[in-house]
Amino acid sequence: MKTKFSGILTLLLALVVQLTFAQEKTISGAVSDESGLPLPGTTVLVKGTSSGTSTDFDGNYSIEAEIGDTLVFSFVGYSTQEIVVGASNTVNVTLTEDAESLEEVVITAQGIKAKPRALSYSIQSVDSGDITKAQETNVVSALSAKAAGVQVTTSSGSVGASANIRIRGNTSITRSNSPLFVVDGVPINNDSYSEDPTQTNNNSSLGGTDFSNRAIDMNSSDIESVNILKGIAATTLYGIRANNGVVLITTKKGKQGKTRVTLRTSASFSEINKGPDLQRTYAQGRHNPDGSGLQYRGPETFEGDSWGPLISDLEYDGDTSYPFHRNGALVPAGTGNGIAAQSYDNYNFFKTGDVFDVNLSASGGTDKVNYRASMGKLVQNGVAPNEEFIRKTFRIDLQAKLYEDLTLDASAQYSNSGGVRVQRGSNISGVMLGLLRNTPTFDMGNGKTGQAAADDPSSYFYDIPGSELPGHRSYRDGIYNNPYFTVSRNSNTDDVNRIIGKMGLTYNLNDWITLKTSASIDNWTDTRKIGFDIIDASFGNGRVINDVIQNQDVNWNALVTATKDLNENLGLTATIGYDGFYTKNNRQTVIGDGMTIPGFFNLSNVSTTQAQELTNRKKLIGAFVTATLSYNNMLFITPSFRNDWTSTLPVDENTFQTYSIGGSFIFSEILDSNFINYGKLRGSWGKSGNDAPVYGTLTNFGGTVASGDGFIQSVTFPAYGATSFERSGRAGNPDLVPETTKEFEVGIQLSMLDNRLKFDATYYDRETTDQIVPIDATPSSGFVEVFSNIGRVSNKGVELTLGGTPVRTDDFNWDIDVNFTTYENVVEELAEGLESYVLNGFSGTSSRAVEGESYGAIYGARYARNDEGTMLIDDAGYPLLATTDGVIGDPIPDFLMGINNTFSYKNLSLSVLLDIREGGDIWCGTCGILDYFGVSSETLLRDQTTTFPGIVQSTGAPNNQVVPYSDPTISESNNYWRRYGFGDVDEGNVYDASWFRLREVTLTYTLPSRLLKGTFIEGISVSAYGRNLYLSTDYPGVDPETNLTGDSNGIGLDYFNNPNTRSYGFDVKLNF
């Protein structure tokens, strides 16, 4: 690939050089403003050619041109000037300020451009520099901590892991809460699909891999800016599809002028940043059933506990044929070969990951055609051995004036992404389960660590005499996978090919009416291959899954915009239009079981297969109208309306209306203050909603799944040579109505001290009713779920941004931007008799909607308490378990804050992004299990005693019994960490996930242009950057920025999630 790049580069360079040689004579001069100050960076073009330059720091330029050519001088905020080249070789120009163009325009819904002052809602922008700074692979992750009202949770540090983005919290209980992604005016797909399609009852997101959300197919280097539309007033014109806000992405475009080639290369390295603390004091084993104390029990017993004797009391027996340790089995000290027993650091499994990212783009244009073409390749190796993600992108953007008034806008993007993933979560074939549960006395890598151990089969295989197949060398003799087996023998690959094509036409009918239409197709195919090798813990006979997901989204729209000043004071901008959306998705899965050749994951190598096919289709048509009436450029009022027709609602009731009204008042216009340059008050009210899920109105029959037992796999028909169908466990509802969200938003925006201090505050209050929820049907009614319109979810929040330039001198600048988000997201009401609804999670612990509690409340087993909330203690002196499960944690943070500092000194700039999260709980399911098995460092308390605070239930007296955490004379199942069952009491494993982290640090040096004079290089900048370099948190598990259930509605769950990473690297950018 690298050679290909250099080939293309040479070609482009040749082109540049050739252009440079087409000279006639050299014109030079200076460009200044009305007060005579130089205007550095003014673009100077020879009209009708692609030849151009820009002025230097002193406003000077020189350009090659012929007599009779027209030079065009342009600078943002100033009127453009054209000058015809005459005999003189010197052309000095004075540009005049253009008040109208000084105010930038922002892109709003449906691609309509608006002046910021006319907006009745808050809009937040993140520019290209901020997106590419930290070199996140996933553009969604790159938005972390950069915008108020936006919360991003990247599932884990696995390569290509999905990231979950929420704008103003969650509104819907079952529908997606992910915003609509729109690129250059057309929506793109951002779905994510979790793994195992056979696990219909056990939610598959709990135990598969962190598969990507499809926004990962965007190359961050192609992005010019991201605008985030938060409220309903901002998104009305997108109707039902934008109930959760919109992420409007604008890509980089070619600009009129000479060809500009940019080559950007970066390399970075990553390592895991945090994991649960493990004990290395006690060996594998149990309490001797005869009551005599601690007893060592090795891997050959298949037992999983580390409740054995002190490691320091053991030594090896010297039997070199023992498969689980090269020095032999462990025996009491004094009875073996005298070599003291060792303990091992399980985290040695992880290695240093790396990312190499190369991007090349060429852009330019004439007054007729602008173009930009780019390609990029990113190769990421994860922190787990063999983990890999590769993304190749190609994009081309073209704008052409077909006629004087007709502009064509076309783009095409191709991407190929995917890699080799590792499994995680509740999965005995996952990496983290086998890794963290591993007993400290078992050397998983058999003398090696990291990649070297993964590459050596002796770490996970051992010979069994008389058997062709080896044994599975793990601390439970194959009951859980050795993590090295998982990454070396099993396969989890995905390969996504995606093409997005778009074409649009804009026609300026006259100077106040514009017609615009566009159409796009977004097509992707995700081809996955999942293989479990023979002697895998879950599928010992081997399993191959071929899983193909195809998705096609088609979007089209047409709109007419009119802008006219009605009289001196009144102005009007109005748009009328319609759009359409059709999506079809097909997933075909073939599962093959019973492999013959180990490691050969092909359906020809299995003895039985089962197949499954799922198709979703949906069509949505909308018509909309909006108008902004302005008075004296000071008062603005904007009503908007949209009607949607959707295929998923009942036939006769398939329309839905979205509307809003908002206004803004630029009070600084009448204030005439030296302190406040700009001040705006804004307010809006709107109603939007969400349609029914696909096929939600129907009750059909589907293939029978015989289950009824969460411990074992289900029988999926066809089976036993027969097919079978059953009435769906989910009852469709032909009377569904759409979900409805109403929102009220007010805000103030201030710009002070010559724009050196900027402040924006927003308060919003939204409520969603008629939630469409497949609520747990009463199972005895013959259904497990029934779609219903129930419940009410409220969101209230405050978003603040503060920006300023505390220091501004000629050489040194300090800019600071702070964003602050706080919100309450409460399930106000559910259906009568419905106490809670599971959003995602396990049957034991889950993230739920519970009436009166925060959205996503963590629900599980809890301690018994009296009416005052004091814990009840049993007669033996241990806390009692409540007989029913309940809410044990609130995953919604108290506030989120991002603080971005940029210091620049001459050509050096340092940017530091701090990320603060206060409050919000996470269930550390991992912790409870590690306690259960006696491998967590908490279980070092096992030789201690304690008195549990509380009231003895039987006597009502305060508890004062001193009890041991663990009593070695009775079964370990009676100890504090096991007496409540597998995984301990959920409540005891819920932790505050507050954090303070140094999310991004970037140091950039731009080479002074004088150093590059005489070379073909126009600019060089070099950056060093780091991500997640520092993290402070009390959370005992992995990095609390984690989510087991990925881009789903479940939040706050951590169960053997893969760890997160810290990374550091450097980046070189060359402009030609």
């Binding site: 039985t608 037992d709 069952g981």
Partner: protein, 458 residues
């Protein structure tokens, strides 16, 4: 300029056309609607689920409770400590029986068919309701399964009426012509074996079983059971066996459990002590701990069968009923010997060993002594094929004479005794609260030490 007008007109026209066809999109091409489904498409899944129910989740838990199994790790240890919560058994209720399970399939079949075509569904409905009521007491039936007809929150019927309903279903099944065997399915079993199953005798066998459940509360139960037993299965080849197969997910649930949750369950110490020297023991465990997955174990193979009800169970019922109705010891002993021998031969015990074993059997002492002998033998024979019935027998007769687990915890079982019932599942509590509470108060509680109507403590 004209070009633009054309483009716009075309696009607008396209929109109008698509609006008309928009609802055609809302048809699921992969899941047929009810009018396309016939009975033959529903029977195999329903039958698979029913047989699975008796040996999967609650079968295993019943086996742990009655000490046929011991929990070795994780949740199975908790079950052995009688820490069986409302979300431990909900999977069977929600996905095995009512919500997405076999009883619901039976209901769909009964509702949509007539005569012979639905007769087998009535028989299976009776078997599923038998498991349901024997585990939970009062349960929904008369209003159940009708969520699509607007009955979203069914009331609970008394256990007594559910047992009456079971007998009624079985009588109707016989009169509707279950003998025809329409819909019959035996999994991976042979067509020949399927032909030999006698469904009418099976219906009588089930009638005998569910009369026998009521010996503590109905003085005529034993006589009714005896009458039915005499019309029931007369050989193991007539019994409705379901045969599992590979791959693992299609395997016998015991095998599958050992495969999916290795090292968490072992054969019980109690049953091994009781079976010391029994020629069946080497076929139950190879090392005193394993119960499945090892070659040579009868009930723990991927393709081990599960009968809906067995010939030997019928003969045990007959023996006990003879004792309870004052019949002769000789008749009772003969039935007992037939039961044990049939079980032994079925699982592959050498005929001579079986004969030697049954020849040593004797009935003597009080009626209770004789019943203890019969139930203890039944307990050994039902291992691996009908653990839930062993739990019923224990609660009904107190035999075998099990010792409460000394490590029992009192969370849902304050008196820490061998459980008398299960808690109602969490899903009923959260979705059907009023009826759930009414059922609990009507029965005086639903903790694991609260008795249900049919099985008062002796």
């Amino acid at each position: 300029m004209k070009t633009i007008k054309y483009i716009l007109s075309i696009v607008l026209l396209g929109a109008v056309v698509s609006s008309c066809t928009i609802t055609d999109v809302n048809v699921d091409p992969d899941n047929p609607s009810a009018d396309k489904i016939n009975a033959g498409a529903v029977y195999p899944g329903m039958i698979t689920q029913t047989h699975r129910n008796s040996v999967a989740l609650v079968g295993r838990i019943a086996g742990i409770i009655t000490q046929q199994f011991d929990g070795l790790d994780a949740q199975q240890i908790a079950y052995g400590q009688y820490n069986i919560g409302e979300s431990d058994i909900d999977d069977l209720w929600d996905f095995g029986l009512y919500g997405a399970g076999a009883s619901k399939d039976c209901f769909v079949l009964i509702e949509n068919t007539e005569g012979e075509v639905g007769a087998l569904a009535k028989l299976y409905m009776a078997a599923n309701m038998g498991i349901t009521t024997s585990c939970w007491g009062d349960v929904p039936y008369s209003e159940a399964f009708r969520g699509d007809a607007g009955i979203l929150k069914p009331t609970y019927d008394t256990q007594q009426s559910v047992y009456n309903e079971i007998q009624l279903l079985l009588s109707q099944s016989i009169s509707d012509g279950v003998a025809s065997g329409i819909g019959a399915f035996n999994g991976a079993g042979t067509a020949d074996a399927l032909d030999k199953i006698d469904w009418e005798k099976t219906a009588h066998a089930l009638k005998a079983r569910y009369y026998m459940h009521l010996t503590s509360v109905d003085p005529s139960a034993a006589q009714s059971a005896l009458t039915e037993a005499l019309q029931a299965l007369s050989s193991t080849s007539e019994q409705p066996d379901f045969v599992y197969s590979t791959p693992a997910q299609n395997a016998n649930p015991f095998y599958l459990f050992d495969n999916d949750r290795p090292g968490t369950l072992g054969i019980g110490a109690t049953i091994q002590t009781m079976m010391a020297g029994d020629p069946r023991l080497p076929l139950y465990t190879s090392d005193g701990e394993d119960f499945a997955g090892t070659p040579g174990l009868f009930w723990g193979q991927a393709n081990s069968p599960t009968p809906l009800i067995s010939y030997w169970e019928v003969k045990f019922i007959e023996a006990e009923a003879i004792v309870r109705t004052g019949g002769t010891d000789a008749d009772a002993l003969e039935a007992l010997k037939d039961a044990v021998e049939a079980n032994m031969l079925y699982i592959g015990v050498d005929a001579a060993d079986a004969t030697a074993y049954v020849d040593a059997l004797a009935l003597s002492g009080t009626e209770a002594n004789k019943i203890e002998t019969i139930i203890n033998e039944k307990y050994k024979a039902l291992y691996g094929n009908a653990p839930i019935e062993s739990w019923v027998d224990y609660r009904r007769t107190g035999f075998p004479d099990l010792v409460d687990n000394p490590d029992a915890v009192g969370s849902v079982n304050p008196s820490k005794i061998i459980p008398r019932r299960f808690l109602y599942p969490i899903t009923e509590r959260t979705t059907n609260e009023a009826n759930y509470n009414a059922a609990i108060s009507a029965q005086g509680g639903h903790l694991l030490d609260d008795d249900m109507w049919a099985f008062p403590k002796n």
